[in-house]
């Protein structure tokens, strides 16, 4: 029981289950899934579909955070990707053709990859603190997105593009496939190779990793590139959903939600050990929370209050002090980072 309580995913999962239970209690139809036109519909399916954007951004963010970094620019990058893609489609003669859409997407992702590489360059080569390095692009990126759309909200009509966010494949939303694919690919990439361990190693102790021969510069550069790319993917999902490039509002505050999801999932902002399953649960909690509020008839604008409550509760539960109180562990005012004796003994 104690081990279960101490597992780092215990409380996040409890929170998710509680949220779903709350919804079901208030309206039993929450759990029901209907089949319409060979596609599944229902609140749970919606949650999975709508969480795709955040999932992409959060997975990238998690990798960045694991290296002791943070990527504040994802919202702006997301806006840039939507702006680039839609401007290309809007300017093309056949907005409905697959080739146009594919080119546009490749272009959008390419640009965001470059933006990610730029962040990585500032952090790993120039050596600027991540929070500041990405703050630069957080400001400038949105400006660039507006520059591309000339401050307009570009709208398009393109069936293939609509399909990305709203289409169904084998009964399930296409966006869900994208989100599952990203999670799977990243999981395989980090856990089947040594990438995960090296990322954690760099996040825990960069200098020791360097001296052990780890190419930390490349790793750090890489995670920012991935984060940029995934934010770009989220931008395509976002713009496909509303079929418009809104440089002002696309991805507003998504960096905060993503960071929140990662932290709820048990990855520390201090870097090091990360948990993909935790991040997935974190994203689902946030998305379920948003749906719950709409579901319960509360004005969506008030959502932040509930998010705040979730942050506070989850953080408090993960906080060492509170755990000590719960588990009645001895109170130690502040052990030094390495306290061999105490730690050995606590085993």
């Amino acid at each position: 029981m104690k081990r279960l309580l101490r597992h780092r995913l215990f409380w996040p999962i409890v929170a998710l289950v509680l949220l779903i239970a709350l919804n079901t209690a208030s309206r039993p139809s929450f759990l029901s899934i209907t089949i319409n036109d060979g596609a599944l519909y229902g609140s749970l399916v919606d949650i999975l579909r709508n969480s795709a954007q955040l999932m992409l951004v959060a997975v990238g963010m998690m990798l960045v955070i694991a290296t002791r970094g943070i990527d504040l620019s994802v919202g702006a990058v997301l806006a840039v990707s939507g702006a680039v893609t839609l401007t290309w489609i809007a300017g093309s003669s056949s907005p409905g053709s697959i080739e146009t859409v594919a080119t546009a997407i490749a272009l959008g992702l390419g640009v965001t990859l470059i933006l990610g590489l730029w962040n990585g360059f500032l952090v790993s080569v120039v050596g600027i603190q991540p929070i500041i390095a990405t703050l630069v692009l957080m400001f400038a990126g949105r400006g660039v997105a507006m520059l591309i759309t000339q401050g307009q909200i570009t709208t398009i009509t393109s069936a293939p593009y609509t399909f990305i966010a709203s289409g169904h494949l084998l009964g399930l939303p296409f966006a869900l496939y994208i989100s599952v694919l990203v999670v799977l690919v990243v999981s395989l990439l980090v856990r089947r190779t040594a990438l995960g361990m090296l990322i954690e190693s760099v996040g825990i102790n960069p200098e020791a990793s360097r001296l052990a021969g780890v190419r930390s510069r490349g790793i750090i550069w890489g995670v920012y590139a991935v984060s940029g790319l995934l934010a770009g993917g989220a931008g395509i999902l976002y713009s496909s959903n509303i079929m418009a490039a809104d440089a002002n509002n696309a991805g507003l505050n998504i960096e905060l939600d993503a960071i929140l999801a990662v932290v709820i999932g048990g990855t520390s902002l201090m870097g090091g050990k990360f948990s993909i399953s935790g991040t997935v649960i974190g994203v689902l909690i946030l998305q379920t929370l948003t749906s719950t509020i709409t579901f319960l008839g509360i004005p969506p604008a008030v959502t932040p209050v509930f998010k705040a409550v979730v942050v506070i509760v989850v953080c408090l539960l993960q906080s060492r002090r509170v755990r000590e109180l719960i588990l009645r562990r001895r109170k130690v005012s502040r052990p030094s980072p390495v306290e061999p004796l105490e730690a050995v003994m606590s085993r």
Binding site: L198, S201, A208, K273, V338, L341, V344
Partner: protein, 509 residues
């Protein structure tokens, strides 16, 4: 001769961490005007005891009275107001502030409009002068050496009118002159009636400066002794609770002959390797099966040379040859590719990856060399780890323990294993035995001898010249960022020779 008054009297101190008693019924008395040593192997409870005395940990049982009044410390400030000040091994000051501020922080002199900086700095200067430290209190702390920072920390302790001074391994990063300086200060404080608790791994220092010693073993008091009445061998025996055959067997190996085969080509050869401000160009040849000791004071260039050999820092000048062919070792990766290994003197911040397991720490080097895409197969990992855990007697013998939970000596062994797993041809060890207990020290020394006998080329750095003399086939003496002498070890070479070489004229930098 009557015993001086007891200032701090700790009786029956017990501190429990979940599952285990870190301290079990420990007694410690500090007397005014005495320097008291606290000795014990790593894990004996020294640091826990210090943290109990300084209010970092709350005690579960037992009493601490200061000046006859029983105290309960809720935090470091409680201990400080009871007159107990502490200087930790890693200097705990704020490098972003000035020297004077660090001395006076929390005790600044206030005038009508807030802090009176003129008076505050004057008071700081006064406190520094008492330790014969003639530095500008307005200069930033970061502009001074670790030794000076340590003395600044002591000045701070004096400003808060402490009657008790706890020094937790203050000498581990000081060179000989600096230690002498510190000792002079300690003696002066002692003569002023301050009770000093001194923790050090250097036995000689204990005998030089301390009046009494309390020995801890496995969280219990082994006993309190007058240093003058306790032979060194007996002290070590009490700390270890075992016979000293281990240590003696290493000492016997001193009679090294010269390098086995004079004819072989060097494994690694550097010409004019140097870096501006860190190291004057140095020539050095490393041979198979040979331990090369780098002797010199801290800051003499010994660590700088080691780092340049490994490419940890960027060299401005120099050429490197490995087995005759020219290579560039401009970063750790290049070094690793050339099978050069380097263990930093700063184990905690440049060695271990604290939150990774022992297994992951061991294979990290190997994995880094293979690149991220080709993971070391789990079976191979387990095999490697099991081999090294057994051959080095790493404890606890659980490869999935986080390395930060190991004692210093065991962490060092894991780091050695990390490098050995890569089958290096050159192994550079910067202070591999610093801050670890006597038993582990002997094991690591034996391991180094063994590795050299197996054909590895080892570069060995230690502040303890006895150790350098004991282990090395050849010794390079470093001074003022340059190599000043190179001698073959053997009969007739002893510590005094090295000391005189190190201390020759022009030592002032």
């Amino acid at each position: 001769m009557t015993d001086p008054a007891v200032i701090v009297d700790a009786r029956g101190i017990t501190i429990e961490f979940p599952g285990v008693k870190a301290l079990d019924d420990v007694d410690l008395s500090l007397r005014a005007g005495e320097i008291h040593a606290l000795m014990g192997e790593n894990g004996a409870g020294k640091s826990t005891m210090i943290k109990a005395l300084t209010g970092v940990y709350a005690v579960d049982a037992g009493t601490i009275s200061v000046g006859g009044i029983e105290r309960r410390f809720g935090g470091t400030d409680d201990a400080q107001s009871a007159g107990i000040a502490t200087v930790y091994q890693e200097v705990n000051l704020c490098t972003n502030l000035s020297v004077g501020e660090n001395v006076m922080l929390g005790h600044e002199i206030r005038g009508r409009f807030g802090i009176d900086w003129r008076a505050t700095h004057a008071a700081a200067a006064e406190a520094l002068r008492r330790l014969e430290l003639e530095i500008d209190p307005r200069s930033p702390l970061s502009s001074h050496s670790i030794a000076v920072q340590q003395l600044v920390a002591i000045s701070r302790a004096m400003v808060i009118r402490s009657t008790v001074l706890v020094l937790d391994e203050p000498t581990s990063s000081l060179d000989r002159d600096e230690v002498e300086r510190l000792f002079a200060v300690m003696r002066a404080l002692r003569d002023n009636g301050v009770a000093i608790l001194f923790v050090s791994h250097f036995l000689d220092q204990i005998y030089e400066i301390c009046d009494r010693v309390t020995v801890l073993r496995n969280g219990r008091t082994e006993g309190e002794y007058r240093v003058a009445e306790l032979p060194q061998v007996e002290l070590v025996a009490k700390m270890l609770g075992r016979e000293l055959a281990d240590l003696d067997s290493i000492a016997e190996r001193t009679a090294h002959t010269a390098r086995p085969d004079e004819q072989t080509a060097p494994v690694m050869q550097v010409l004019a390797l140097g870096r501006k401000g860190a190291l004057e160009p140095v020539d050095l040849e490393l041979y198979e099966g040979e331990v090369v000791g780098l002797a010199g004071l801290l800051g003499s260039g010994r660590t700088e040379l080691a780092r340049l050999l490994y490419g940890a820092d960027h060299a401005d000048t120099g050429r490197t040859r490995i087995r005759g062919s020219a290579v560039r070792v401009s970063n750790p990766r290049a070094a690793v590719d050339n099978r050069i290994a380097f263990s930093s003197e700063d184990r905690r911040s440049e060695g271990i990856i604290g939150d990774l397991t022992v297994r992951e720490n061991m294979i990290l080097g190997l994995q880094a060399r293979r690149g991220w895409a080709r993971r070391v197969p789990r079976a191979q990992q387990d095999r490697l780890v099991a081999t090294y855990m057994q051959s080095m007697d790493i404890r606890p013998a659980d490869p999935e323990t986080l390395i930060r939970n190991l004692s210093g000596g065991n962490q060092q062994k894991v780091l050695l294993a990390r490098w050995l797993a890569m089958a290096p041809q050159v192994l550079i060890l910067d202070e591999p035995t610093r801050g670890i207990d006597v038993g582990a020290k002997a094991e690591i020394q034996r391991l180094i001898s063994q590795l050299a006998a197996d054909g590895l080329s080892v570069v060995f750095i230690s502040s303890e010249l006895e150790e350098v003399v004991r282990l090395s086939h050849r010794i390079c003496v470093m001074r003022d960022h340059a190599k000043v002498a190179e001698l073959h070890n053997g009969e007739g070479v002893d510590v005094d020779d090295l000391v005189s070489l190190i201390a020759q004229k022009g030592q002032v930098s």
